[in-house]
Amino acid sequence: MDYPVYHIKNLHHDYGEETILSVDELTIHTNAITGLIGPNGSGKSTLLKLLSFVEKPKKGEIRFKGEPAVPFSAATRFKVSLLTQEPYLMKRSVYHNILYGLKIRNVAGDIDAKINEALNWVGLSGKDFFSRKWYELSGGETQRVALAARLVLKPEVLLMDEPTANVDTESSQLIRKAALKAREEWGTTLVIASHDREWLYDVSDHVLHLYQGKLIRSGLGNFFVGPFNSREDGLFEKKLPDGQHLILKKPIANLSSIAILPSELVKLDLMESALPGLASIKGIISKLLLEKPGRQILISVQIGDIQITSKLPLDTVKTNHLYPGRTVWVSFDPDKVIWG
């Protein structure tokens, strides 16, 4: 019987009295790419640490390929690897950092060739980097060496926590390419937490949204975190960074909660239009992306320093000339907003 690589049930994790993560149920299938999205402190890193068996959940169970697993269990030790947001390189050369995992697995064969190949995957050459010390690397190189140290192990599951957050564009592209290559070559299951929504939507088979330690939605969505201010006319609003207001209709009990606007419900118009009494928001199309399944177009609209993503059929995009650089008006049916 084919079990999913992960099956989580009634997972609860806390540090002291503060609940960090609470997931009722989650299944991650073999060979899939799962994206994790959520604001800082939403529990992404904790979920990745639990999935990598670095920490044990306070309550609940994580099954790995059908079997309950805990840190150091034989079933997972050599199969799952985590690349943290700020990876730590041991105080030794690049060569010995990458060698470490191979040594504890007693891997035989041409070790130098394996290490060189892993470095090549992340755009570095063994000739230049084998003898480099940990302190002789830039931030991007450190991240790439750390990824090479994991790729050389050919893990069944690779968990990546903001792998491109603190690196330059070139390193970022190489890291993304290497991770996807691992999936293609060895069928590695990838779980990636990132703030780069476009990239995650582009590469992931499914995207999970975390907020305050809970899985609130899977799929494409726009998240607006409170507080929301009540207005005299009974509506609620959130002031956007550029001064415009996001106006919401549905009354909410907790004004500090989160409003989720599914991308397929976001309308884009070339002229201002909105439902009576509700203003639309002006923005500029910054990016178009072909959605992986379904062949729909994901359109990113920049409003100040936030982005709203809309999902539209290709024909609509063509007909309305919705191309990057165009000014558009974003509107939506406020009754369809989901409150988290």
Binding site: T84, M90, I104
Partner: protein, 230 residues
């Protein structure tokens, strides 16, 4: 001032001429310090690691005791050792009084808290991300312990050197437990105390310089290994 100059000159002559009494004291010093340092490092490094790494009930109190023991006066250790090892003492039957192993035990009591406390401090200063990295790469518990010790090797070296410094320079334990017996338990420091007491300042200075020379040689060796292990 002349006797200070004479001291330097005499130190060189003592070493060059292979003065038997001086070399006996050097031998005794090296032997007891080797015993005590081996015992302190073997017991102290794992204990320091556990104290710095593992959270257990009473950890704070244990740390407080260890830190307090850093200030143990050597004469007090010597006194207590004498009380325990003398014929009337509970360990008198072991016959360790006025022996080099007796001195080594006393020096271990002196050095152990230093190794534990400084190793624990090095472990506490260790980057928490190291543990996550090691587990991510597939390390088991023993490999985490060994790799973590390797990561803090400079801190461990510092702990060992500090302890060695105290062991080499202490007088109280060697004098009270060893009895400063010529050709037998006389160490460099007790010899210095004796020579100075007799008014033989030059010989005292010479022996002091020999002690410094040994410390210098040990530091050169450690420095060499540290460079090799970067």
């Amino acid at each position: 001032m002349e006797y200070i100059g004479n001291g330097f000159l005499k130190a060189i002559l003592l070493l060059l001429h292979g003065d038997a009494e001086t070399f006996s004291a050097i031998y005794a010093t090296l032997k007891v310090s080797f015993y005590s340092m081996t015992a302190s490092l073997v017991l102290g490094i794992p204990s320091g690691f556990l104290l710095g790494y593992v959270n257990f009930m009473g950890k704070h109190q244990v740390r407080l005791v260890v830190d307090t023991l850093l200030s143990l006066p050597t004469v007090f250790i010597g006194l207590m050792m004498y009380a325990f090892l003398s014929n009337r003492g509970p360990l008198g039957h072991m016959g360790l009084l006025f022996t080099l192993p007796g001195i080594a035990i006393g020096q271990t009591i002196l050095a152990l808290p230093i190794v534990i406390a400084l190793s624990a401090t090095a472990v506490e200063a260790m980057d928490y991300k190291l543990r996550t990295t090691l587990i991510s790469l597939g390390a088991n518990r023993m490999q985490i312990l060994l790799s973590s010790l390797w990561e803090i090797r400079h801190g461990i070296f510092a702990a060992g050197l500090t302890a060695y410094g105290r062991v080499m320079t202490e007088v109280g334990i060697s004098m009270m437990v060893g009895g400063n017996i010529k050709w037998h338990t006389r160490t460099i420091t007790t010899a210095i105390a004796l020579e100075t007491g007799k008014g033989m300042f030059a010989t005292g200075i010479a022996l002091g310089l020999v002690l410094l020379l040994i410390a210098f040689s040990v530091n050169i060796m450690v420095s060499f290994f540290k460079k090799k292990l970067v």
